[in-house]
Amino acid sequence: MRDAKIVSRRFDLPNSHTLEVAQKHGAYKAVEKAFGMKPEAIVEEVDRSGLRGKGGGGAPAGSKWKLMLGDFGGRPKYLAVNCDESEPGTFKDRQIITKDPHLLIEGIILTCYAIGSHDAYIYIRGEYHDFQKILQEAIDEAYAAGILGEKVLGHDYRLDVTIHRGAGAYICGEKSALLESMEGKRGHPRLKPHQKEPEWYFGNPTLVNNVETIASVPFIVNEGADAYRSFGTEKSPGTLLFALSGHVERPGVYEAEFGTPMMEYIEHFGGGIRGGKALKAVIPGGASTPVLSAEEVAEATLDYESLRQYGSSLGTGGMIVMDESVDMVEALKNLLEFYHHESCGQCTPCREGTGWVDALVADVLAQKGSPEHIEKLLDVSVTMNGKTICVFAPAVSGVIDGFVGKFRGEFEAYLRSLA
């Protein structure tokens, strides 16, 4: 497997989180280069790189950035960096903010300069209190060194970066809920517009990108779009901080290029399945991506196109690995409890549906179910799909369909033991 370190390049250096070490190893070089470029040229370069959003949706970053170049009658523009990182199985952004916060700050400067913004916020999940401290120290260092503030590195350009702490709500990772939360409201996702437009923060045009997306920008500015595209595949260029948790020998976050065979990744970085057991299933990209059976894992590659073939998606790249000992009904129950707890409650199919499916699977587990339980489960799942304000409910629907569709026998076994 080829070494592919774009974002994690400095992770293993001692004290990599300090300005001194980061700068000695190239941090903020791209900023000087960027100031010699027109902002639109940077947007163009990012667009050409094919950089895709790394927060789970995989939207092309360039298209979103271009929306920020429109005419907004002189209104201020904002960047909101999404560090809510609450998708179960995902723990990659925390590596960036603790091991190389200056890479993120550098990316923020480049992004804001490109889109014409002077104020960036980093929305961080409330639980990341200790990691937030490390990030704040790096921001303070950057201010003290004249890298942030009134004159970024002596140029006639102001930039302020402010951390905004969340308070425990998974849904605030959804971009419009995030902005609602930053406006001092409940984290309720907004209705989506019909045409392409930016997000809005207090009525001002705003770009929301994931931490890792922003942290990929310095490489693109330094080395160019073609260098970025030399990694990954045609449609999924570059790399991702993929992650492994669950039943592997060495769980963790390891950067790899898109297109890497999934099993090779699990073996190479994760050291294979824990205790030499057999693999049963992998949830490929955070809890909200439909599960893959062992046969599918053997064929799949880590890119957007491949995972779609298995009715799943790449998501955040956080793989949850399950060995042969796992009871798939219990695993689904665990996830449904999560969704039931985290539904923001605005849409009836989601607020009620997540409770119903949780209760249905609880019945199955308690051997109180009947064969109709499976049909009902799938029926509620249909109702949850495509009828809500955000894609939370459709994602739950996909999770259910994946588990029941691919491991139906395990659900039926619980019902058979009734007879």
Binding site: P88, G89, R165, G184, G246, P251, V253, G318, I320, A331
Partner: protein
């Protein structure tokens, strides 16, 4: 009993104000200050926050009740938050929970009689690679074993 921000907290909030397009953005920062100041957010504090933000108290109530990390009532000095989501469940969370319950003599959602510990289960803490994990107040503890849990709890007064 009415609530007033400490001078220090008030100043910190005021200096944050210029970073935002609207004062209302300071809702979560203000509620976090309340949490830091007294450990929970009661009605009096909500009213104080509402006055400072110049919004109706019901708006503060709506927000304070939405977010899991805001407590509306006092809890134990050490809030044990054990992650219950899938990766932690796959890696032995159940044993840790059983041990915590036995050791503390309480169920999930309860506080020990001496007011030292409150036991909660929470959703994914973003540390799935070092499962099972728990957070006590603001500190994360990873790769938990029963021995490790004993050590951690003994280190807390």
């Amino acid at each position: 009993m009415s609530f007033t921000f400490t001078e220090e907290n008030l100043q910190a909030l005021e200096s944050l104000e210029k970073r935002y397009p609207s004062k209302e953005a300071l809702m979560l920062p203000a509620l976090w200050k309340v949490m830091r100041q007294q450990g929970h957010i009661d009605t009096e504090a909500m009213v104080a926050v509402a006055e400072w933000l110049e919004v109706p108290p019901v708006k503060v109530y709506g927000v304070a009740t939405f977010y899991t990390m805001f407590h509306l009532e006092p809890i134990g000095r050490h809030h044990i938050q054990l992650c219950k989501t899938l990766s932690c469940a796959l890696c032995g969370k159940a044993d840790i929970l059983a041990h915590l319950k036995k050791k503390l003599g309480i169920e999930v959602g309860e506080t020990t009689e001496d007011g030292r510990f409150t036991l909660s289960q929470v959703e994914c803490l973003g540390s799935c690679g070092t499962a099972p994990v728990m957070q006590i107040n603001d500190t994360l503890y990873e790769n938990l074993t029963i021995e490790k849990v004993d050590e951690i709890l003994e280190g807390l007064e």
